[in-house]
Structures are given as C-alpha cells and as structure tokens.
Symmetry: C2
Subunit: 212 residues, 2 copies
C-alpha cells in the first residue's frame, strides 16, 4: 500500500491500449505484479470514468493493489480510491487533503526541484517526476521535453518522499531511473500498449528492483 | 436561495465575456439583481477555477446570491459553493448528493422528459432544460439543436422541481420560455457578452417576471 514499496505503477489510458479495454489491461498488470494503478483515461467523461473506476476498485481491492485517481478528488472519493494524483494545474494538494483526509495517498506531478519541494510542503505523499525521457505522445501530463535522470536524482535528493519517474520509461531504460534514486516508474504505454501487459509489468518490476 | 425564486441565472464563461474578466461580469450581474450564479469557465484548469471560485464565493456570499459549480463536486466543496450543476456525462446526481449532503442544491442538464424524470428521481433540486433555441456557440452544454418551448413545457409539466431554460435565451425571447412554464432562464452570452451586463441582467429578470 505504502508508495515506498511501489516499483511498477500503471497509469491507465484506454486510447493507448491497442484496442483492449482498460479493465483487461489492469487485470493483466495485476497478474504481473503491478504495485499501484492510477485511473487516468482523461479523454473519457467523468461518468465513464466513474463506471470504469468502480470496476477497477473491485479488481484492485481484491488484489490488495492501491488505486489512485488522476485529477478528480470527487471521483476518488466516490469510488473509494486510495488517493488522488494531482498535476500543477489541478486542485491544490492541500485542498485534496482537506477533502480526503489523512489516510489518503496524495501524489503530485513535478518537473523541477522547486515544484517538488512545494508539493512536499503541501503534503504530497509521493511525487511523479517527468517527463524523464520526453515522449512523442501527448498523453504524458505536465511536461513535453525530457528532463533526464539528473533531474530525477536532484528531486529524489531534495525530498523525503518516494519519487516515480514518468515519461518514456520502459524496461529498456527503467534501470537508469531507479539508479538515479527513483522509487519506481509510472508508465502508460510500456504496459498498456505491450503485446503482453502481464509480462511487461513483471519485467519492468524486475528491472527496477535489480537497479535499486 | 431556493431555486423556485430564481429568474435570471448567470452561467460564467470568460471566453464569451468580451475581454472582461468573469469577476467583473459577476459583480455587474449582482448589481443587476441576478438570482444565482454558476461557475462554469470550462476552458480553464481546475486550479484556475478554484482561484476564481474563491473570489466568486466572496462576492456572491456578500450579496446572498447562491453560487453553483458546474461539473466538479470537489471544486464545489472546496470553495463552499451552494451546490453543483451536472450534465448527463458528469458524475451521477446521487453521487453528488452523497458527497455534498442534503443541504446542497443539485442541478442537472436535461433535454428530454425521460432525462428530466430520471434526474428528478436521482434527487436533482432543479433542472436545466435545453438548448431551448439552439445556438451557434459551442458553449452550451449537452445539446446543440434547439428543443423549443414545447419541450420546456412538457418537462415543466412532468417534474415538480424548478426548470430553467438554457440555450439561445435573452431578453427578446425569455418571455416565451417563462410562459412555457420555466421558472427562469440560465444564460451565458445574454449577460456575459452584453455591453452593459448589469442592465442586461435587470431586463432579463423583468421580462421573465412579467411573463410568468
């Protein structure tokens, strides 16, 4: 449950799932040992995410895998998720804490040391850091150019909460992200678009664990 | 406070406010006697709407004008708004009720008698009905073709809560909407784009009041 133990953190995006539905991707990721799941699917309506979120809550609860909701504090509360992940233009971390309470896991997207320190001060329990390698996808939040592993290291050194690299990370480069001090990696396509999402999850976990 | 007394219901949209900021539009509408304000501004980030919403809450509270938030239950709670307005693809009305409690004012966008009856059964306190006249703007939610005043009358007959026409309504046609049984009119451009938003609000109220 605690983010300190997360290695492979799946962020869902149905439009990047090679025609498969998000539910089946999450089932495969759980079978592969995923440590946490974030309901993102930002191109869907709140109503659709609510329906999807209830299914994901059932699946993740049965497997004792934390479920985090991107952006929407109300949706997180409505589906009894474990927490919420907030970008720099979402509701402030402190507001989410007020609404969800001390037991909620709050994550925040950051790309600089200053943003990271501010998010930590506001009460974030973990940070998403990126985009580490940049991406040609438009589906990585809050950054488009890669910040590199040196920045990951600087942020990991600056804060006392787990940091997760995000953006362009897969099993071929996750070792460098972990070696830089990241607790794990948050990925979309490396799992959602993989031919075998279960195997991709297991491999990603292993690469990160070995590099730490 | 109670929607049964609302005649002119302003829905904010900075991008349709002729270069003026939403705060100044709301100040003018309050001076003109607006009965309720909905924070919409859907093109802004949640963070921006939170900042704007706190200012609007101060203004509306000082004038004893209800403030409703479009779509986001979390934002409504965070700024201590009086309620939330939900579209057909937003979180369900019953979920909003669970989060905000019995004292919250919950509105729902509907365009058919079936949707209206479902929203009422789910606990909506009032209904937005439209788009009544259609619009060439893309900023009217959940409908693009005008449903006409006959549909407004059918919905007003079918439910025991206030209905507000929305979509293409201004002081030149609001009388027909009120005569069809609407409690009032929810408008964006008729106030936000008016040369004199205060006068436009006062005139709209008067037209509706006279036609009832």
């Amino acid at each position: 449950m605690n983010p300190t133990g997360w290695r492979a953190y799946l962020v869902t995006q149905g439009s990047l799932s090679a025609g498969r539905d998000t539910t089946s991707i999450v089932e495969a990721a759980i079978a592969g040992g995923v440590d946490a799941v974030q309901l993102r699917d930002k191109d869907r309506s709140a109503r659709d995410r609510y329906r999807l979120g209830r299914r994901l809550r059932d699946l993740t609860a049965a497997a004792d895998v934390p479920l985090i909701v991107n952006d929407r504090v109300d949706l997180a509360a409505a589906i009894d998720a474990d927490g919420v992940h907030l970008g720099q233009s979402d509701l402030p971390v402190a507001v989410a804490r007020d609404r969800l309470g001390d037991g909620a896991i709050l994550g925040c997207s950051t790309s600089t040391v200053a943003e990271a320190e501010a998010a930590r001060s506001a009460g974030a329990d973990y940070l998403g850091v990126g985009a580490v390698y940049g991406t040609d996808s438009k589906d990585v939040p809050d950054a488009t150019n890669g910040i590199g592993t040196d920045r990951v290291a600087a942020i990991a050194d600056a804060v006392d909460v787990p940091v997760f690299g995000i953006g362009g990370i897969d099993a071929t480069n996750a070792d460098a992200v972990a070696a830089a001090g990241a607790t794990g990696a948050a990925v979309i396509s490396a799992i959602t678009a993989a031919e075998d999402p279960e195997a991709a999850t297991a491999t990603l976990r292993e690469v990160i664990e070995d590099a730490r």
